[in-house]
Symmetry: C2
Subunit: 465 residues, 2 copies
């Protein structure tokens, strides 16, 4: 399709869309630019049109119209993608899901909820107030649940409560031809046929547009406490993490901060942490006694690994202050070099290789000119590097990020622990998946034969990836 043909198709589609979306479809440049990228550093690419549907039926109609005019579809949530998931690299129609923001059902006895895809984590938490239930998935951003589903997001609490993969029970999805399907049931488990739910979780909109999500919820813990442990080395910190998990302590959070990250947080949040490799624990339990027991066991293991300080905080204000400072790590890192962009890497390796991987990564960073900090959800073997290169250091930062992925893959890990593939990680899928990539292509071809659903994300359908 030439640029002119695409413009003509978009114009025709616009007329048909306006018939039922009215002012909820636009080709205004400002709106298109707002929908041309996420929070990544990849080049922006605006769609031709942006729609704001309010129902699955409207999404289905949009997709049918896109099909009739051979236009691409790009779903858009809160715009917090870090890997170029929402760039409309082939133009087409962006479906902004954020007006599909109703919590449709909360099942107290079933401990589940059904939401529209544009509901954010924060909106769901508000709706769950006073139910004693929560969705324990915290990727940092107040992302839409559709986006979190599409990238298989996780975050700090996955070590105990799982990622989106473990917490999505069912979906409503609009397919490439506009048909609407539901996947899963409201039962908590099933062996009845192919697991389509898990196929769409993490598919980044390339197989269909997710419009509704049924989520598993968890009981709010009766008691909780946090602990801050400082270590003489990265190795000692990670060895402790492994033993805490092996012993079945089952913390709700185990977050690692390297010395540079701690220093940045201290400067930004004035929280006065000891400046050394640090583990933040959170323990959940049915009682204070229960939580204290977990913390005591963790403390013993920390001490056995030469922990220099183990500080428990069980009152809510202290806990919130600590996690607020942790949440602000991104801003703390930015403050290390005001005006610089931040490149966020996302590696995940087997726990047995994690210490080695972080140590090698820190040594690698120490040879670079740009500042960088390391933090991670180490109970899952997942960590991030926040790099702050100047404009002219960008190529070096890119080369570092590439080496990090190679290192993770070399250790049996993955190129993306929780941020997804988008455009940014496509080039690594061949190395990670080998021949299995051809199976992914076959599935994409079966469900989206003309490559209209978020085309060019995760994989290409032409030769090579």
């Amino acid at each position: 399709m030439t640029t002119q043909e695409r413009a003509a198709a978009a114009k025709q589609a616009m007329e048909e869309l306006r018939a039922f979306l009215r002012e909820r479809v636009t080709s205004s440049q400002a709106v298109r630019e707002h929908h041309s990228r996420g929070e990544d550093t990849l080049p922006a690419a605006p769609p031709d049109l942006v729609c704001f549907p309010q129902s699955t039926e409207e999404v289905s109609s949009i997709v049918r119209i896109a099909a009739a005019h051979q236009l691409a579809i790009v779903p858009f949530g809160s715009g917090t993608s870090l890997e170029g998931h929402v760039q409309a690299i082939h133009g087409g129609i962006c479906i902004d899901m954020m007006r599909m923001n109703r919590v449709l059902r909360i099942g107290a006895e079933d401990m589940d909820a059904t939401v529209e895809a544009g509901v954010t984590r924060g909106q769901l938490e508000k709706a769950l107030a006073n139910t004693g239930l929560t969705l324990f998935i915290d990727p940092g951003a107040d992302a839409s649940l559709g986006g979190m589903t599409s990238t298989a997001a996780s975050g700090t609490t996955a070590v105990r409560y799982g990622t989106m993969r473990e917490n999505v029970l069912g979906l409503k999805v609009v397919l490439a031809d506009g048909r609407v399907i539901h996947t899963g049931t409201r039962a908590r488990k099933s062996s009845a046929g192919y697991d389509l739910t898990h196929l769409f979780v993490g598919a980044e909109g390339t197989l269909g547009v997710i419009t509704e999500i049924t989520l598993r919820l968890h009981a709010q813990p009766e008691a909780a406490s946090v602990a801050i442990a400082g270590f003489p080395s990265i190795q000692a910190a990670i060895d402790t993490v492994i033993e805490v998990i092996q012993l079945g302590v089952n913390p709700a959070r185990i977050e690692f901060l390297d010395e540079e990250m701690v220093r940045a947080i201290n400067r930004f949040s004035a929280i006065g942490l000891a400046e050394c490799p640090t583990i933040l624990f959170e323990f959940h339990g049915v009682s204070v006694a229960n939580v204290t027991e977990s913390a005591t066991m963790a403390e013993e293991l920390c001490n056995a690994h030469g922990c220099s300080s183990f500080e428990q905080q069980s009152n809510l204000a202290d806990r919130e202050r600590l996690w607020k400072a942790h949440h602000d790590a991104y801003f703390a890192a930015r403050a290390l070099r005001p005006g610089s962009g931040v490149i966020i890497s996302d590696a995940c390796v087997p726990l047995s290789r994690l210490a080695e991987c972080i140590v090698a990564t820190r040594a690698d960073l120490d040879r670079e000119r740009f500042p960088a900090v390391i933090l991670g959800h180490v109970g899952d073997g997942n960590f991030h590097v926040l790099s702050l290169p100047s404009e002219e250091e960008l190529p070096e930062a890119g080369a570092f990020a590439h080496r990090l992925v190679q290192r993770a893959l070399g250790m049996g890990g993955t190129c993306s622990g929780e941020h997804g593939v988008g455009l940014g990680k496509k080039k690594y899928l061949e190395a990670e998946h080998g021949e299995a990539l051809s199976v992914m292509r076959a599935i994409k071809q079966a469900l989206d034969p003309v490559n209209r659903m978020n085309p060019g994300k995760i994989l290409d359908l032409t030769t090579g990836n």
Copy 2:
């Protein structure tokens, strides 16, 4: 393909297979009959040949030879299928996986293991002795892990530790054309591309032959105890289960037995349980204090629902005696009517509908002439009916099983909680999945275009299901 053509194809394939399998391929009638069914009550259907490969490469060669001669492939594990997964309804080559029984790797720090598909649960547990690790999935039978993966099996401990879906981290799979892929990585989570692991879990061999499985393991609990609670009604028992889960007590097992089941177990195992609706709890924790606290909380909730007896047993011998009696429920049921076959149903509904579903099912059974008992993994909303019809009552038992599925589907549940679809549940997939069934068909067609992999199981590729 006519019967004669198939016989000729099998003969040719036999020659080619013998070249590398030698005596590990056979067309002997005894072996073919042994591989003609599982433990289900569906008609037997023997394959033309049975192979006993010892490596993924051999499986790949077998599949290539089957492809060249247009013969079907049916993978076969421990033969404990309850839904007709292994009947060779189109003949062809049965691949008995039980000589692929090596535990390839145990990762103590990563808490995972990689096994060949023919390793049974029991063999893995033996290999894990003294590691402090275990696979907490207990479907009753000493099934092969390949079979358990292929049916997304679960059992008594899924309420705390998850089903095979949550515990399979990666797979090695032989595709329909003989290519070998691996899915997943050794990292504990990933957002890198489509989730092929979950696609093959539960696919019952219809998309490929699983030859290796990487499994998540769990720490053996430091302390454990069981409790037996008797209730005045099914409703009271299930209401208690819901509250125990809502409170975050997180038991390792919550098994329901109806009054008839308790009576049968008492008679068979002389265990002296009070004959009323009963819940068996097992609690796991990091210490005796921890486990006692869980049991106390459960006891309070039981009492609030009119529990007539709550008996804790924390010594190992008592616990083992209880679970042995529970495991023998099948034999206890059979003893109700010696010589009769047992039809095992497998329904799973949202917890909020579970009491209603079991009460209605019991009332339904009470109108039948054949004896039947109910037991279930009620923390997941999953329960089984063991029916013992005489030869002439078989049609009534079938009609009952059909009503049970309809009831479960009507309550937002699934036709199969953990036994799979095979031949037995195919007819319900349209009602359960609707349009999504066409997506399952599209995936089957993409991965197995000539319908050679366990053909006729889960779905048919012709019109209708």
